[in-house]
């Protein structure tokens, strides 16, 4: 097969001098350290800001995200660059070493034997001692004669590769999720329908109910039964509560909080006109055509006032429901407090005559956060890889030992190298030497 050769191959492009230098800089750990420190410092400064929104704006700013992206690029390049050398180092170790090389190793020991035994026998004994310490052992024959080669924790070499790849996958997942997702707040009472145009579906609230805790002062759990439809066809249904979202096709409906919705009837005594209103906290209710209105502030399921006259709810049991608010005139000047007890009308004289306002009932409403996050499976995969990589990095310590037998001195020369922990290497060697001397005595 013949292929037309491009003017500059991919490989050549990346080995051309200036490009190579830029790539080297971009993939360097120096840059990595600077970027990570920069992220840490900016994050510190951001959290010391006064206002939450100001803080949030930093993390959404182009330059903060830019530094993150730059760190990700740095991480990607340096991970890619490490693949080949790491694989070589992990899978193709040099199994034989000269006596001089062993003498230069960070950890070494010379075990002089009591009598001069045949090399075969000594090396077999040494190999067995390593084997007993849990290392993989083999005896190779090369230019320096026979060498015992023992190693453990090879997977540890790949720990950082795996954790970096996992981290990159997490970043990809977060980006993908942000680009393809949406977030929306909405809610209602039983019977309401929330339409979600971004997701092309609608949520119908079938039922809402509350389960009180044994201790009624503890915030109760609120459940709601919903049915999700797409073009009139039901695509999902289930019960939603706190920590119990409904998930379908990458979408999630979370219970965010609950509210009380009051049924209020307004009756004009002079004209006999009656109207019904559904009132949420903070809603306004106009009393006359001039602008007199009630601003409702809070609903108390079990109303009481403390010694200073401040209203509060004794607990969540609906034993003394009260809807409280303040009456304002047309100039937004507060006139008086209003406390609507259940089925106990309060009368106001207004420009339009006597108006009776009555709280006739109340219902539980739910507030949802509805989101789509298609990045979730990617995030989970990345997180698992990341944690597994960290585990390999910090719990498996790749270590290697080489041993030669010096027939003239009747001495075993052992040297070791580790990828991380020198202390562990020393302890292990100590143990192996002990084992060799013990076995030799037998």
């Amino acid at each position: 097969m013949h292929k037309e050769k491009p003017e500059l191959s991919f490989k050549e492009l990346f080995t051309a001098k200036p490009v190579r230098q830029i790539l080297k800089f971009l993939s360097s750990m120096q840059l990595g350290i600077i970027l990570l420190l920069l992220l840490a410092v900016i994050s510190v400064l951001a959290t010391l800001r006064e206002h939450n929104t100001a803080i949030q704006s930093i993390y959404r700013s182009w330059w903060y995200l830019g530094i993150m992206a730059f760190t990700a690029l740095n991480l990607l390049l340096c991970t890619v660059r490490r693949v080949k050398p790491l694989t070589r180092q992990a899978l193709y170790p040099q199994k034989e070493q000269s006596a001089e090389a062993i003498a230069r190793m960070p950890v070494k020991e010379k075990v002089v034997l009591a009598e001069n035994l045949p090399a075969e026998k000594v090396l077999a004994l040494v190999a067995d001692a390593f084997h007993r310490s849990g290392l993989k052992t083999e005896i190779t024959t090369g230019t320096h004669g026979k060498t015992v080669f023992a190693q453990k924790g090879v997977l540890g070499f790949f720990g950082s590769l795996l954790s970096h790849t996992g981290l990159l996958i997490i970043l990809v997942g977060a980006m993908y999720g942000a680009l393809t997702g949406f977030e929306l707040q909405g809610g209602g009472i039983a019977g309401d329908r929330i339409s979600v145009p971004d997701g092309n579906f609608a949520v119908r609230i079938m039922d809402v109910w509350m389960e009180y805790e044994e201790d009624p002062t503890v915030r109760p759990r609120v459940y709601s039964d919903v049915s999700v439809t797409e073009g009139g066809r039901e695509i999902a249904d289930g019960v939603i509560a706190i920590n119990q979202p409904l998930r379908f096709a990458g979408n999630t409906i979370y219970h965010t909080t609950f509210r009380y919705v009051s049924d209020v009837i307004m009756h004009n005594v002079s004209t006999g006109e009656t109207s019904m209103h559904r009132v949420w906290d903070r809603d306004h209710l106009g009393l006359d055509s001039k602008g007199l209105h009630i601003h409702f502030l809070a609903f108390f399921p079990n109303f009481a006032t403390n010694e200073e006259g401040v209203p509060y709810s004794k607990n969540y049991l609906p034993e003394n429901p009260v809807l409280a608010g303040i009456v304002y005139d047309e100039k937004e000047k507060p006139q008086s407090h209003v406390y609507l007890y259940l089925n106990d009308p309060v009368t106001f004289s207004t420009a339009d005559g006597e108006i009776e306002v009555t709280l006739t009932g109340f219902q539980n409403a739910v507030v949802y956060t509805i989101t789509r996050n298609l990045g979730r499976p990617i995030l989970v995969t990345g997180a698992l890889m990341f944690v597994l990589g960290l585990y390999l990095s910090f719990f498996l310590h790749p270590r290697r030992f080489w041993a030669l037998y010096d027939q003239e001195q009747a001495a075993v020369l052992i040297g070791g190298r580790s990828y991380r922990s020198r202390l562990m290497l020393e302890q292990e060697l100590e143990q192996v030497v002990k084992e060799i001397t013990r076995r030799e005595d037998e």
């Binding site: 990570l36 993390y59 920590n243 979370y254 956060t369 944690v387 960290l390 990095s393 910090f394 020198r422």
Partner: protein
């Protein structure tokens, strides 16, 4: 609305007594370790016995608290702090077991930190009005009733304990190098050995810190509808994580040794303590229950 659990007077008394004795025993074993480091070598094993005894009492306290509260004590400053202290001692005792009685000097630096954390839980609220650490038994709010909470908090406790150990060793390193010709410093391990302790403790701490951040994100995703919201506690956990990431890379790939790495570990520990203490009293956020 109060929201407290009712606890039997007996249960409460047992819990408080166990806590007090454990605290006093920690204090005494700290004294033992300090005597050890200042030359009374014979006291080493005794300090260690006392620490193990204190640890048992502290364990008994946590068990009593679990029974009294009817759940694992992982929420609120007081409970978190106790489990955190318990984990610090656990890791240190593990190190002592690995050393098989050859050296007790790390204990002389770890136990004062334990005492410092205890003082924060018990004395600081009396001195600083802004700090308000309640010992009351509270039931779990619905949002906290999740298995992820247990994994998340356990991971953070273990991570913080490792970082505390790394910090204790960092201080040892500083004293060893500054006072190298004093008798006191001669009782400390060689700087290279200390650096290795610091490295291993930080590495394992980093693993737990990562698990903490990830499980926290999963938990936030199921209860708040977002996995990351840049709230101060989250950001400070991330800052701590960044600092230790810098340390691990600087040591591992750039071959940094000595002072620079010790400083990074100290900064990382400060960030960790701020995540726990500072965020709660100086910054505000959704995490205010922790």
């Amino acid at each position: 609305m109060t929201g407290y659990l009712e606890v039997s007077p007996l249960g409460l008394a047992v819990e408080n007594i166990l806590f007090t004795i454990a605290a006093v025993a920690y204090l005494l074993s700290t004294a033992g370790y300090l005597f050890y480091i200042f030359g009374k070598k014979k006291l080493g094993p005794w300090a260690s016995y006392l620490l193990r005894f204190s640890f048992l009492l502290h364990t008994a306290f946590l068990v009593t608290r679990t029974i009294n509260a009817g759940r694992i004590p992982l929420v609120g400053h007081f409970e978190f702090g106790n489990v955190f202290i318990w984990a610090c001692v656990l890791f240190y005792l593990w190190l002592e077991w690995r050393l098989q009685g050859r050296d007790y000097s790390v204990g002389a630096f770890l136990t004062p930190l334990v005492v410092l954390y205890l003082a924060y839980l018990t004395v600081a609220p009396h001195l600083i009005t802004k700090i308000n650490i309640s010992r009351a038994h509270k039931p779990l709010q619905p949002v906290l009733q999740s298995n992820w909470l247990q994994i998340h908090v356990s991971a953070s406790v273990l991570g913080y304990a490792c970082f505390t150990l790394a910090f204790a060793v960092a201080i040892m390193w500083l004293l060893k190098t500054w006072l190298h010709n004093k008798a006191f410093a001669r009782n400390l391990p060689e700087p290279l050995i200390l650096e290795e302790y610091m490295y291993r403790a930080s590495g394992i701490g980093f693993l737990f810190q990562s698990i903490m951040i990830i499980t926290g994100a999963i938990w936030a995703d199921t209860s708040w509808g977002r996995y990351w919201g840049w709230d101060p506690k989250e950001v400070w956990a991330l800052i701590t994580w960044f600092v230790f990431a810098v340390y691990l890379h600087a040591r591992f790939t750039r071959g940094w040794r000595g002072m620079r790495t010790v400083m990074l570990v100290i900064v990382g520990w400060v960030a960790m303590v701020f995540t726990w203490v500072g965020v709660a009293w100086l910054l505000t956020g959704i995490h205010s229950f922790g």
